[in-house]
Amino acid sequence: MNFSVSGSSVSKGETFKDTVRNIEAMKVDMIVVRHGSAGVPQYLTRISDSVVINAGDGIHEHPTQALLDMYSIREKLGKLEGLKVCIVGDIAHSRVALSNIFGLQAMGAEVSVCGPATLIPRNISELGVKVIHNIDEAIQENDVLNILRIQLERKAKAAFPSTREYHKYYGITKERMEKNKKDVLLLHPGPINRGVEISSEMADGEHQIILEQVTNGVAVRMAILYLLGTRQGEEN
């Protein structure tokens, strides 16, 4: 069943716990949760017996996206170990970035992030991630670029001067790729802001696997539902 709430439960005068109790009363086995607030999936595991799948919580994590990104990279390049992967863009307000960092590092890839200083959390290098502010350097150094959507609607807007300036210094364009003469695989979790983080030409070009990511996303998420739904690996 589909349960959609806009905004916080506060606005309805109901606590989040009440909302979950209502869902629980419908005897569900599994909850797939996407929520604007970080930590909601963790909170759910404490108050619910259902299997909880995090489909994105606030600016925290998006594990299924990371799994499909990694699957897509491996499908194309045959491996993850030893690859150099750079996540480009609004790292601070992205839930995709952190899950990619954790997942790729676990699989033996070397992860860096690239973007203006205001879109990169102060302490991210402590996670073993290299911080790059020059996009040309990021292209030259890496095998894969995972280009994040620039969030036009969020707080991020106040953190850089304009989308025009962002595109000028961080946008992935044909000229930039040719200048660096590098064969780099391009990923994007979608939806794309054409002309901001990536030019239309590149978004439809030969380096990218954006639509393969979507296709793989279906398979990866089916696998997750199957494995967790049948509680594979658990006793009994």
Partner: protein, 427 residues
């Protein structure tokens, strides 16, 4: 009515006393102090206090009573009962009620409501009308009604301009300005900015938001000659700023909460909203700087920032849950467990930080344990081990992250205003 408390270890740092003795209290006054006091009267209430320490009554100078406005969370009376259970004979109440304590009638009503309790309540007045940082509160009238200090706690005093006026005005009454130090333009996050906020994906409040305001306030105190008291100090650099300010002779004092000397932002890994407060839990380096500051006297006192919230308000998504936790009934236990038993502070130092310094900051009389004085006592057992149970709290709220903690060191009883109250905190 007489009360005889036997076999106490009496420690009074003002009188420089540390002795084993009995105390006989008659009608609220200390009648006799001595060893082996015997009475042959059935009407005397006798308690054997072997293993316990008696000190002048403890005070918590940072308490949020929710009256007027949110009596479902805490009233003046329930807050006083919580204070008594936690070993406090006095509290200072913060003005961020609804309406704010920016008028003499509100200050008077808080004092009146507390009159029948065993706890002295010293109201802190709002520094500005409705705590909006625009118009000076009637500081003179508030002092006359009983306010002992001024603060817009919840937020810092909004601008340097109004801060200057408040400091100049309050210093005519020798009243300190108590500051919640947080730069407004960097406020609003759910936790400390650091590696953990990156890992947990929560919006954050950078330590510099606190430090900038501490620096501003110390400089303004120097400029105006006023007294500034830094509430709930929480970062290492802020402690250093206070240390430097004191060295220059500026009238700056500071308090730290038990949670800031006990916990770090590692605790947020489970997104438990009972760990959400402002200032947020910081890093281990900051926590250790609190211990250092307590040791070397930079941090003058311990205050709980007792902030009751209804259960339903804390059962929210982390970012929507309100800031603040209970403190009155865990402060003494956490202080003894984490400062005394860890070798950070001695018992006399703890008494300085819970009895003497906080009263000196507010400019109110410090009780002493001497024959002929009013009996104002906190009795505690530093060796008693027990489990914290929020269900047994006298406070109306339940939002404590310390539920289930095992602590060594417990409040046992208080005596104040002619009333002897035995604490149930340690079961």
């Amino acid at each position: 009515m007489q009360t005889l408390l036997k076999n106490l270890r009496i420690i009074d740092t003002t009188l420089n006393i540390d002795q084993k003795a009995d105390i006989l209290i008659d009608n609220g006054n200390i009648e006799k102090i001595g060893t082996g006091i015997e009475v042959n009267d059935w009407n005397v209430d006798i308690h054997d206090m072997e293993g316990c320490i008696a000190a002048p009554g403890f005070i918590d100078i940072h308490v949020h009573l929710r009256e007027p406005g949110r009596e479902d969370e805490e009233t003046v009376v329930s807050g006083c009962m919580g204070a008594a259970a936690g070993g406090f004979t006095a509290i200072a109440s913060m003005p961020n009620t609804d309406p704010a304590a920016d008028a003499a009638e509100i200050i008077e009503s808080i004092i009146t409501k507390s009159a029948k309790t065993p706890v002295d309540v010293y109201p802190i007045g709002a520094a500005t009308i409705e705590r909006k940082g625009e118009v000076l509160a009637p500081i003179g009238e508030l002092v006359e009604a009983g306010a002992v200090a001024f603060s817009d706690d919840g937020v810092a005093i909004k601008t340097a301009g109004i801060l200057r006026r408040i400091m100049e005005y309050a210093s005519m009454y020798d009243a300190p300005v108590i500051e919640h130090c947080e730069d407004e333009s960097m406020a609003g996050g759910s936790m400390n900015e650091g590696l953990n906020s990156t890992r947990f994906g929560l919006t954050s409040i950078p330590p510099i938001a606190e430090e900038l305001t501490v620096a501003r306030d110390i400089m303004m105190a120097e400029y105006t000659g006023a007294k500034v008291h830094i509430a709930h100090i929480s970062t290492a650099k802020a402690v250093q700023l206070v240390r430097e300010g004191k060295a220059k002779g500026i009238k700056v004092t500071a308090e730290v909460t038990p949670h800031h000397f006990t916990l770090t932002d590692d605790s947020l890994i489970d997104y438990d909203t009972n760990f959400k407060m402002n200032p947020p839990l910081r890093t281990k380096t900051d926590m250790l700087a609190m211990h250092e500051g307590l040791k070397d006297g930079t941090i003058d006192c311990i205050a709980s920032d007792h902030a009751p919230h209804a259960i339903e308000e804390k059962e929210m998504e982390f970012e929507y849950a309100p800031n603040g936790i209970l403190g009155l009934e865990t402060t003494l236990g956490l202080t003894l467990n984490n400062l005394y038993h860890q070798g950070v502070l001695t018992i006399p130092q703890i008494i300085e930080k819970l009895v003497v310094n906080p009263r000196n900051i507010l400019g109110i009389p410090v009780p002493v344990i001497r024959e002929g004085e009013k009996a104002n006592l906190t009795i505690f057992n530093p060796e008693k081990e027990y489990k914290v149970r929020v269900t047994g709290f006298k406070s109306k709220s339940r939002n404590s992250p310390f539920d289930g903690y095992t602590l060594k060191g417990a409040p046992v009883a208080i005596y104040n205003r002619g009333k002897f109250v035995i604490s149930q905190v340690s079961g």
